[in-house]
Amino acid sequence: MFLINCPYCGERDQQEFKAGGEAHIERPKQPTELSDDEWAEYLFMRKNIKGVQFERWNHAHGCRKWFNMVRDTSNDEIKAIYKMGEKPPAQ
């Protein structure tokens, strides 16, 4: 059970949060210009890494804000948390 440091509320128990899949997948601004393959890439293709992964999380039972998390999936170490729209940390 993680202890997650919501960037708006502070440290809270994992059960207040909802995981939202891979982060930094931007919805295409002009979907109609895309081929089926390009659209499918956005729609379906997600990474499932053993190691450092960028994820979206939502403080669903709290402030309801979405934010980003960098997590090592091999040991669940949370390496960084940052707000939506912010750049991921360099390392």
Binding site: M1, F2, L3, D13, K18, G20, E26, R27, P28, Q30, P31, T32, L34, D36, W39, A40, L43, R56, N58, A60, R64, K65, W66, N75, D76, E77, M84, G85
Partner: protein
């Protein structure tokens, strides 16, 4: 005849407080402070159970939670009965009843014991291999196996006890209150860390508290004396909370631990009532100090499982702590000095020790010399090759061990005995450590797994950290505390420790016998009856991974998770396969460390509190009027209102007719409502719905369909424009929370530039939906000053009005195809609104209807229900709802997916109507649809999604999804059922009033 083996008064046993209890129907006596195991041993009862597979007689083996054999049923035939309890952990109380498990008809005469003689037929993987046989063969075994299977009995009536959950936060959690745990907790608390110390036992002090060995001294006192003083000083330390009878079950990531606090299990029945029995502590600790100690290992030799064969350390604890001799003629079998400490303890109490059999060649430690002085015979370089005694050990046979330890030589000596203490060294209790995700490393010299790579703020101190000698323990504990807690001084800095303890040990995982392995029974896992032979067989059959060998042989898969024998299993595999143990790895220790009751896991969430449920403001009226309810998400919704003993079908037929013929009323309060405001609200709706919203006039309503980005229908509902920048959206009852979440997601992550605010107002409004040709007249009676003419208040529009002094929002919208209104008031007025409608409607025979009639009426009109007629694979085109998909809008959620090659396939499943050729046959929802009956394999075209008998059409109607159904109008298809094939015809899904005459009728 019961014997008394109580040898000497112990300060932990209150001999003035005599307690009687029953075991297997027979009454025994013990004292306050006894465990069931110590009390039975004091009565010379060793035989307490039968093993799982071979039904071999088994006795008490340990004195703690690692017990594999003494697994019993507590208070059988009562509603407090509990199976799979370890007798070593049960504190006795007046009136306690317990019985053996896994024996039938009794522990003394057990029919399954025959398996012991059939054991050549029960090799590793027996069950897997047996299941390969014809299934019919298995059924023959079933009765027999079920009767003799040893899993205990669950209670048949509900649990009378209360269970609780509590969140606990602390700076330092110390697990285990042996010498290391106590010193760690004391120093942490004294340095202003909020500290919690927990221990599974009822007394603090671990094994040191009864350590009276004259060769170990702390500040010139025996460890026992010294520790008692330390414990005394714990009282009154600020910041320190101590919980005994509290066992940590699980250690999760981020220092989140679950512990079970046992509050009443040790009390007499009359003191249990109305008290919390067990409490689950959900602990979040900044730092965790594991001081869980070490478990003594047995030795693996032929017939090492007879009642009377115990861990050497357990014999010492029974003697020192409980004042009980486990036998009159004791023998020890060891590979290290520990057995000598136990032997000395017995000797000092005048209990007879016959001999010590040591597989080492020699030891020169002080304690060994002391034993030599006592005259107890020591057999160096000897091993036990067999034991005898069916229900109780009566002798052991020993032989000289070869230099390499793989065989025995010379002549066999038989030693008569009734109790054998085995000492195979110590394994650090690293179970919780590994649960936390931290990694172990095998120490090839000490032959133990040690903590190596921590993943959270934690340290392992004392013997669970690999320190077994008292001087090492104190020295390393001091370093670790200073490092980890960042403190400068501790009360350990100036402690003087004297010890003679040595780590001398000769490790042989599997001891040889004079008989070949195939003819012996060296048990590795006592509870699951796995022998060294089984493990070797698994290796011969090609299993290599330790996880596979474990599952194939069931080693370590009992309720004790193989706490005693896992190391030996690994050792035997490593030796046989010729690899180092460190390379082999270890199996995973999974929570819980010891089994938890279901009560503890669920806590207060039982009965009414099992799940949250929501009720509408009109709920009381529905209850008073005998509605039947159905669960929709968390909501309790009125399902139908039977009168005069009507069946559901009769009630629904009546309600459905009345709603169309005169007037009906539905409680629609559960529909999700989201208030949307902001200067970009219209643009936002344009992006989330498939149709266009910019041109919707203020005061008008519009139906909207929401897709997922994959183009599949996600939710639907009517949204009303209340003002220039203000809308109220309704969602399906079950979808409300998800829709809000999805809208928030897009607003926060994809379109943060939009000025839009979302508020869930589902609970703020109560909604009555009034429908039918007389609905207008009824509404007129309630609200006299509102012009209800079609010109002023047309279909799909909105008005604000007052009912008396109550403000309300009225939408003229319809889910039934009838003229109808949805009246919304502040939730607290919901019941008043409902009663007013009923009163006003009385002259029109207004009929309350529930969700079932709502479903039937909308099906007559071919309106879909998202989640019933759709399943996450239906596009609006599949639903034949092309009309709602804007061609003009550049983009909306899911638009691009509507012209992916897959979503444009002609042969997708499409929503159609189905009419049965026999109008009286109602199809089953979920029934499959085919076009050919004599095909093999038959091709499934689709399935029925909604099906009712329509009282208004006087025939059966159904909605279905059918592959390519759009172009099948009028086609004959079949619905094959178990006993018959039903002929159906594809039809227009709008069955009733296809031209909407009723909706537009002048009333």
């Amino acid at each position: 005849m019961t014997k008394n083996l109580r040898v000497k008064s112990s300060e932990y046993i209150d001999e003035t407080n005599r307690i009687s209890f029953k075991f297997n129907g027979k009454t025994y006596h013990g004292f306050k402070g006894d465990t069931l195991a110590s009390a039975l041993l004091a009565n010379d009862v060793h035989l307490v159970g039968r093993s799982f597979k071979y039904h071999r007689p088994r006795g008490i083996m340990t004195s703690g939670s690692e017990e594999p054999n003494a697994i019993i049923q507590i208070n059988p035939c009562t509603n407090r009965t509990e199976p799979n309890v370890r007798a070593t952990e049960v504190e006795i109380y007046e009136g306690l009843e317990a019985s053996s498990q896994n024996c039938w008809p009794s522990v003394e005469f057990d029919i399954g014991g025959i398996n012991n003689f059939l054991s050549p037929f029960f090799p590793a993987g027996f069950y897997y291999k047996t299941f390969m046989w014809p299934a019919s063969f298995w059924e023959k075994y079933e009765f027999f196996i079920r009767h003799s299977a040893g899993l205990g009995k669950s209670p048949t009536s509900s649990d009378p006890d209360i269970y609780d959950h509590r969140n606990v936060h602390c700076d330092v959690l110390v697990v285990g209150a042996g010498i290391s745990g106590i010193l760690a907790a004391k120093n942490a608390a004294k340095n202003n860390f909020r500290t919690l110390l927990v221990d599974e036992k009822n007394e603090l002090g671990g094994s040191t508290i009864y350590e009276n060995n004259e060769f170990n001294k702390i500040d010139n006192k025996t460890p026992s004396e010294w520790l008692k003083k330390e414990i005394e000083e714990l009282k009154g330390i600020k910041n320190l909370e101590i919980k005994t009878r509290t066992s940590v079950a699980a250690y999760h990531q981020y220092n989140y631990l679950l512990a079970r606090e046992n509050l009443t299990d040790h009390l007499e029945a009359k003191y249990k009532t109305n008290k919390i029995r067990q409490r689950l502590l959900k602990i979040r600790a900044k730092k965790v100090i594991l001081a869980t100690g070490a478990l003594e290992r047995p030795l693996i030799f032929n017939n090492n499982d007879r009642p009377g064969i115990m861990l050497s350390s357990a014999i010492k604890k029974y003697s020192e702590f409980y004042g009980v001799a486990c036998g009159n003629k004791n023998v020890f079998f060891t590979n290290n000095d520990s057995a000598y400490e136990s032997a000395l303890s017995l000797y000092n109490k005048g209990i007879n020790v016959e001999a010590i059999i040591d597989i080492r060649e020699q030891s020169e430690s002080k304690i060994v010399k002391k034993i030599k002085e006592t005259g107890i015979k020591i057999y160096w370089s000897h091993s036990i090759v067999d034991t005898a005694g069916y229900k109780r050990l009566n002798s052991v046979s020993i032989m000289k061990l070869s230099n390499d330890g793989t065989s025995v030589t010379g002549s066999k000596i038989s030693i008569s005995c009734d109790c054998l203490g085995v000492a195979g060294g110590w394994s650090p209790a690293v179970h919780l450590y590994t649960q936390s995700g931290s990694k172990l490393k095998f120490d090839e010299e000490k032959k133990v797994f040690l903590p190596n790579q921590n993943t959270s703020e934690q340290i392992s101190v004392g013997s669970c950290g690999g320190d077994f000698k008292i001087d090492e323990i104190i020295k390393n504990l001091n370093h670790k505390l200073k490092d980890n807690l960042n403190i400068k001084e501790t009360n350990l800095d100036n402690i003087k420790v004297e010890t003679d303890q040595e780590n001398s040990k000769r490790n042989i995982w599997l001891l040889p016998s004079d008989k070949p392995l195939g003819k012996t029974k060296p048990f590795v896992d006592y509870q699951n009856d796995a022998t060294a032979k089984d493990i070797k067989l698994a290796l011969r059959e090609g299993f290599r991974s330790i996880e596979h060998v474990k599952r194939y042989t069931t080693t370590g898969m009992g309720t004790d998770q193989g706490k005693l024998g896992n190391m030996h299993a690994l050792g035997i595999i490593a030796d046989t396969a010729g690899v180092k143990m460190g390379e082999l790895g270890t199996t995973t220790f999974r929570p819980p460390y010891t089994p938890l009751t279901f009560g503890t896991i669920v806590g207060r969430n039982v009965g009414k509190f099992f799940d949250i449920f929501r009720r509408t403001p009109m709920n009381d009226w529905h209850v008073e009027n005998k509605a039947e309810f159905e669960n929709v998400g968390q909501w309790k919704r009125a399902w139908y209102y039977p009168i005069n003993g009507e069946t559901m079908h009769q009630a629904v037929q009546r309600e459905s007719k009345a709603a169309r013929e005169s007037a009906g009323i539905l409680d629609a309060s559960t529909l999700g409502k989201i208030d949307i405001q902001g200067s970009d609200a219209s643009e936002f709706l344009n992006r989330v719905y498939t149709n266009a919203w910019s041109k919707l006039a203020i005061g008008k309503c519009r139906y909207g369909l929401m897709l997922n980005e994959d183009g599949m229908v996600y939710d639907d509902g009517v949204t009303t424009r209340l003002g220039e920048n203000h809308y109220i959206m309704t969602t399906t009852t079950g979808g409300a929370a998800n829709v809000l979440g999805k809208l928030e997601d897009y607003l926060q992550t994809e379109w943060p530039e939009l000025d839009v605010y979302l508020t869930s107002v589902t609970d703020h409004y109560a909604t009555a939906s009034l429908c039918g040709p007389n609905s207008k007249k009824i509404l007129k009676k309630i609200i006299s000053d509102l012009d209800l003419s079609d010109e002023n208040f047309p279909h799909m529009s909105f008005k604000e009005a007052n009912i008396g002094s109550i403000q309300c929002r009225i939408m003229r919208i319809s889910f039934t195809g009838e003229h109808s209104y949805e009246i919304n008031v502040q939730a607290s007025y919901g019941k008043d609104l409902w009663k007013k409608c009923m009163e006003a409607g009385q002259e029109f025979n207004i009929t309350p209807y529930g969700t079932e009639t709502m479903h039937l009426l909308r099906a007559e009109k071919g309106f879909i229900i998202v989640g019933q007629d759709t399943d996450g694979t239906m596009t609006p085109i599949d639903l034949q709802m092309d009309w709602i998909v804007s061609k003009k809008k550049y983009d909306f959620i899911g638009k691009r997916s509507l012209y992916r090659s897959d979503t444009m396939r002609e042969d997708r499943k499409q929503l159609v109507g189905l009419l049965t050729d026999d109008p009286n046959i109602v199809l089953e929802e979920g029934a499959q649809i085919v076009s050919e009956l004599n095909q093999s394999p038959v091709e499934m075209l689709g399935h029925v999604t909604s099906s009712y008998f329509s009282p208004n059409l006087n025939k059966s109607i159904a909605l279905a999804v059918v592959r390519g159904g759009k172009d099948m109008m009028g086609k004959k298809l079949f619905v094959p059922m178990e006993n018959k094939n039903i002929n159906v015809t594809v039809a227009n899904p709008v069955f009733y009033d296809q031209t909407n005459e009723r909706l537009n009728a002048q009333l």
